[in-house]
């Protein structure tokens, strides 16, 4: 895969955000807020960082990506379509009957989706399994997991955290999409997980803390993360829910509610 430059990645991120707004608008459902917050990480991964081949999604040596926060599927699908896994025209079928673009990612229906997610807390464990398979097979691929702040509420997250460190699992690089909101309200008001960085450090993960919308910081963190041996990596990425659309930014009303037709048009005018 040709690796895009920072400027090209920024342009792709804008395009992906346009898709997210249009897809959720057309489906009149979905989770635009958390999709927009995860966009820059997904774009950096698919268009620069990952070694993968959209023409051969089962290539055994590929890097793997698990979207553990499966409700951000619009961002995943838009990035996958743009990078060549399928025709971007399919995006309009998001959430419709018979579509491979299920409400939450379904590995049986869409080649290239590495794990079926949508029940929070499971992605890190699956990533550990992939990273352990890599170690057994003496391959060099990396497994990436995108998890979220809300997901840290789940007990399984911490089972996985403890076990991965104990077994010195490396080649496992996770992003925490820390957009500070969950469905009902802010993470502060529902189940505050602070101090977040210290928690991951205490669980013996190698941590980085970045601005999750700064493409350069994302690329740098992953380059450093790839060099970490004997430890799993958590990149705590501070993000803004609804990033890129002024009236969605930090507005939790758009967690699981799609923009109206008017709002779609308004948003698209901003995303140029």
């Amino acid at each position: 895969m040709e690796k895009l430059s920072v400027d090209q990645l920024k342009a792709k991120a804008k395009l992906v955000r346009r898709h997210i707004v249009e897809m959720t608008g057309a489906a009149a459902s979905g989770h635009p807020g958390g999709s927009l917050s995860a966009t820059d990480m997904l774009v950096a991964l698919y268009f620069n960082l990952m070694d993968h081949n959209p023409q051969d999604p089962q290539w055994p040596d590929r890097d793997r990506l698990i979207l553990s926060k499966g409700h951000a599927s619009p961002a995943l699908y838009a990035a996958m379509a743009e990078v060549g896994y399928f025709d971007p025209k399919t995006l309009k079928d998001f959430r419709s009957l018979g579509s491979p673009l299920q409400g939450h990612p379904d590995r049986r229906k869409l080649p290239g989706v590495e794990a079926s997610t949508g029940s929070l807390g499971q992605g890190l464990s699956i990533g550990i399994g992939m990273a352990l398979a890599r170690r057994l097979d003496q391959k060099n691929y990396y497994t990436y997991v995108i998890t979220s702040d809300g997901e840290m509420n789940e007990g399984q997250t911490w089972e996985a955290a403890a076990m991965a460190a104990h077994h010195k699992v490396d080649h496992l690089i996770a992003f925490l999409d820390y957009n500070k909101y969950q469905l009902d309200d802010s993470t502060k008001n529902i189940c505050d997980m602070e101090p977040v960085v210290e928690k991951w450090k205490a669980f013996r993960w190698h941590t980085f803390e970045i601005d999750g919308h700064d493409i350069k910081q994302i690329l740098n963190a992953v380059e450093k993360a790839k060099k970490v041996k004997g430890e799993p990596v958590m990149i705590i990425s501070h993000t803004v829910k609804g990033k890129g659309v002024s009236f969605m930014e930090g507005n939790n009303a758009f967690h699981g509610v799609a923009p109206t037709a008017d709002e779609v048009q308004k948003a698209l005018k901003e995303l140029v």
Partner: protein, 313 residues
């Protein structure tokens, strides 16, 4: 008839796993800090590099197996049925069943014959839960012969499998060399008045009951229905047509076990008289395994009683 005591089905599992490990380098075994009880410890001693002990965490155990399976490995994961099935259930639902991945799940210490450890350690609902997941094969071997054969079959089968093994030594009900196929029940005894369909330790109890019923002039078929799902409907139908009286015996909660599976099928295809020997919607308690089987209505005298009631004698 005098029956020889065999090994526990969990021992047969552990020993067979070592044999499979020798043949198939893709088999990875995982446990959640109960390997000495589930007997996956035998594999860990032979193939330490292919054994992962995750610690006491069942949800992550299943998730890690899902990741391994998606990379072409064949994970066999074991823990107590009571903990593995309930604490790993959403992970079985999403990661294994819904994802259609090749994960083998072995829940040991199934049923109430766990004994002294008491109700918290006993799984009386595992079959109901695991059969509810689309695509899962669900089995309850009756003795070491069938356990060994079915674990070997499981390694060859591609897809999600759940096997319940037991803690106590199990009386031998099958001759060495008997053939077992996933989804094919085994008729151990042929009769004409009624058919007892059983699995696990209840196969032995059913055979004991059948012998005593014969002394009273009642002729009973005994089927080892080791696979609950997919159910051997052909055999069930054949027996229902032939004897017209079906009695199901299982070491499981009456809701959602083998009895429910057989009844659902027969209600549709060939309604006939049925009886059920199972745990009657209650939790058990501490005690010796055989005392518990007796107290909770699962020993052969209970089967005899149910058989006579079914036949109106």
């Amino acid at each position: 008839m005098e029956r020889k005591m065999g090994k526990a089905t969990r021992d047969a599992y552990g020993e067979t796993l070592v044999e499979i490990g020798k043949i198939n380098p893709n088999v990875i075994v995982l446990d959640a800090d109960l390997s000495k009880s589930t007997k996956s410890v035998l594999f860990s001693e032979k193939f330490p590099e292919r054994f992962i002990n995750v610690g006491i965490q069942e949800a992550n155990l299943v998730g890690v197996a899902v990741g391994l399976a998606s990379c072409g490995k064949i994970p066999f994961i074991s823990s107590f049925a009571s903990f593995l099935v309930s604490k790993g259930f959403d992970q079985f639902r999403m990661g294994v069943a819904f994802s259609e991945l090749n994960v083998k799940v072995i829940g040991s210490h199934g049923g109430i014959t766990v004994g002294e450890d008491g109700a918290s350690q006993m799984s009386i609902e595992d079959i109901a839960l695991m059969t509810s997941l689309p695509g899962f094969v669900v089995m309850v071997p009756s003795d070491e012969v069938s356990a060994r054969a079915l674990v070997l079959e499981t390694a060859k089968y591609v897809g999600p499998v759940y096997i319940r093994t037991g803690r106590p030594k199990a009386p031998l009900v099958h001759k060495a060399g008997t053939e077992f196929k996933i989804g094919k029940g085994v008729r151990i005894r042929e009769g004409k008045d009624l058919t007892i369909i059983a699995n696990g330790l209840e196969v032995f109890e059913a055979l004991e009951a059948a012998e005593r019923l014969a002394d009273e002039g009642i002729s009973a078929s005994v089927i080892d229905m080791h696979t609950v799902k997919p159910l051997d409907t052909e055999l069930v139908l054949e027996e229902a047509k032939r004897t017209g009286h079906i009695l199901v015996a299982e070491e499981h909660q009456i809701w959602g076990g083998l009895g429910s599976a057989v009844a659902t099928f027969l209600a549709k295809k060939h309604p006939c008289k049925m009886g059920f020997v199972a745990i009657q919607d209650t939790f058990a308690e501490s005690g010796k395994g055989d005392e518990l089987l007796e107290k909770y209505g699962l020993t052969y005298p209970h089967i005899i009683k149910a058989a006579k009631k079914l036949l109106g004698r």
